[in-house]
Symmetry: C2
Subunit: 392 residues, 2 copies
């Protein structure tokens, strides 16, 4: 196991009705003038926004609103938010929504207290300072409610990049599974896929002797498969929603990823798809993961066989372990298809003729890029192209 | 799943040599005048205490020392520590040792800033305020390095009781697996048993639909069984020590115990054994757990069958699930014996003639006790007696 530090000081209020604590929690963590940041109409239509505003008012807090966050959140709204926060001396940002809203809030929180362009953080600068953030989660997926990460898309060139830093951990997150019951089957399945990807990306490691985190990841994946299937049968199953919500947080707060190298090539390769075609991140991952794993599996057949046996219940073929490894990847693909996820470029709305452009942006699009992706294996541009071709 | 809140804001520095960060971390979390609290000679002999003092000095901190913590830490030293902290205006307590030292530090930390008798907290008063605490862990066992809990024994009547409260979460914990390599086989096995007990006590729940935390617990138990066996073969296996150390923290920081009722009757029943005979807590648990589980298994055969199949690899007997449940308990007992733990009263040094006294203190010894133990099942004094008899 490698050395590490781990610090996850987010306060979680979990359960039906927990959003009524919003005001009290903002106050506890030092906010007085709040920006409520959210996406589209569902937060408004469902009455959630009104309940949140009531809670802030009851706690004697003043607030402004900034809606309009889109899936794959854009830099344009971030700049708008930063300007607003500075002008109005906002001292706390409350994200009401899913990963996109939380990630947009994080970017605004860092940008407001930074002299330069907030995009610097998405080009690799560590986030060390930001306004405090709280979240009220409405989609179990991104894990941003308990993570130090944020992903933003820059309109110019449609470049999607991540930033990280301890200042990005929310001070509190309100997790009410009932708020996720109105999500469509498709949105729900995208969330399940994203959570499973966060687990797979941590599982694919080059660090040996990491049985504790291996077993934690396997356990969370087993829970996701079981509860994922349950919720797809009944979208209003509170307990399944609750299990998925906690698993989604645990999958990405990194307690199961410490002390080991991680992958993240599937996320990197997917980001170009959702940036270019504006498809859902989870749907993009459903198509990307099996392709990446098929391409890279020979790097460590044993690891893929292990997850196949332990998570997917495949029989170990001791004479041909690569068959077991492959069966595990096929089991993942079948599961994702069974919950309604796309399985190829066509179903995703992606185009074969864009492949070389996608691979180029993926490998060379960031400042400091050297034409390669580093993770479980090192991928050159031709490898990334070949992976996109496996998705056809 | 039940509603819950979860807040675990402890900073972990994990890895070989991490204790060199002690000074820097005390400063980061606001300490200036530190009480270094520790147990016996090993912390001194190994040179660890000197390294810690060097680190504090390098950071410009002043400090005092208070050694002498014993296993099953006593209230007498706590009172001494409280007096010292008040007299010397100590503002940070640094525990260097295992669970006993950390628990003693927590009691001193709460008692110093409290007007009444610190024992009030161990009679049920919630701990809401305490001096900040940091830890340098030398035994993976109690999980106190990441938990809001502390257990102290009152000399008068040898009463062993626990206290809890968010103010008891350490500000930081330094986890260096190499520091645990000098532990004896017996101490190591006691730690493994304690960690497994923390997982079992959370597993035994009356809350339904808690698959995510079930799977996390099962995963951590599987890791403990694997890594526990490895470390018993080679006590200097750093990686096995590291896996156990992280599993020990995760087992008790409660991320795998949220939203579900928990048991803790094994701990309660064991506490009277270690209080009266001063045996190691882990050794007491090794004898107690199989007895408690055998006695209570009919309350939920299915849950015991599930852990038997998923954790111990037992075959499910669909016609006689109670046989599977029992096989799981036997597998636990065999594993504990295989790592050198005692299996009955005699091996523990406990006496049959004390049973009615033990059961009486267990059920009636605390202020507000009503003669029963509440947990997975409700146990009356006669049940507790019967459980002690199963240990003969």
């Amino acid at each position: 196991m490698e050395n590490f530090t781990f610090y996850a000081p987010t306060y979680f209020a979990f359960g039906d009705g927990a959003e009524s604590k919003a005001g009290e929690l903002v106050k506890r963590f030092g906010g007085s003038k709040v920006l409520i940041h959210y996406g589209g109409g569902s937060v408004v239509r469902s009455g959630l926004l009104d309940r949140v505003k009531d809670s802030l008012t009851r706690s004697g807090l003043s607030f402004l609103e900034l809606g309009g966050v889109k899936p794959n959140p854009r830099s344009g709204l971030v700049y708008e938010g930063i300007e607003l926060c500075r002008k109005e001396s906002i001292d706390f940002i409350l994200a009401v929504g899913g990963g996109s809203t939380i990630d947009s809030s994080k970017a605004i929180a860092a940008g407001t207290v930074y002299d330069g362009d907030f995009w610097d953080f998405y080009e690799g600068k560590e986030v060390t300072e930001a306004l405090p953030i709280g979240t009220i989660l409405t989609i179990a997926a991104a894990g941003s409610e308990g993570s130090p990460d944020s992903v933003i898309t820059k309109e110019e060139g449609m470049i999607k990049r991540g930033a990280s830093g301890e200042a990005y951990r929310p001070k509190f997150s309100i997790l009410n599974p009932a708020l996720t019951e109105t999500l469509s089957a498709y949105q729900t399945a995208c969330g399940i896929t994203d959570i499973m990807a966060h687990l797979y990306e941590r599982y694919l490691t080059n660090t040996s002797n990491v049985e504790t985190t291996d077993r934690m990841i396997e356990g969370l994946l087993l829970a996701m498969i079981h509860e994922g299937a349950k919720v797809m049968e009944d979208l209003t199953d509170y307990d399944a929603r609750a299990n998925i919500m906690w698993a989604g947080m645990m999958a990405h707060n990194n307690s199961c990823g410490v002390g080991r190298s991680q992958d993240w090539t599937s996320h990197n390769i997917e980001h170009e798809l959702s940036a270019l075609y504006d498809c859902a991140h989870g749907a993009g991952l459903a198509v990307t993961m099996p392709a990446v794993f098929t391409y890279t599996m020979n790097h460590d057949i044993n690891r893929f066989a292990k997850i196949a046996v332990r998570v997917w219940g495949c029989q170990m073929d001791f004479e041909h372990p690569e068959k077991t490894a492959k069966a595990g990847i096929e089991a993942l693909r079948s599961f994702l298809v069974s919950i309604g996820m796309p399985k190829n470029f066509a179903e995703l709305g992606a185009k074969e003729e864009d492949i070389s452009k996608l691979a180029d942006i993926c490998c060379n699009g960031s400042e400091g890029a050297d034409g390669k992706l580093y993770g479980f294996t090192t991928l050159e541009q031709k490898d990334v192209e070949a992976i996109y071709r496996l998705m056809l």
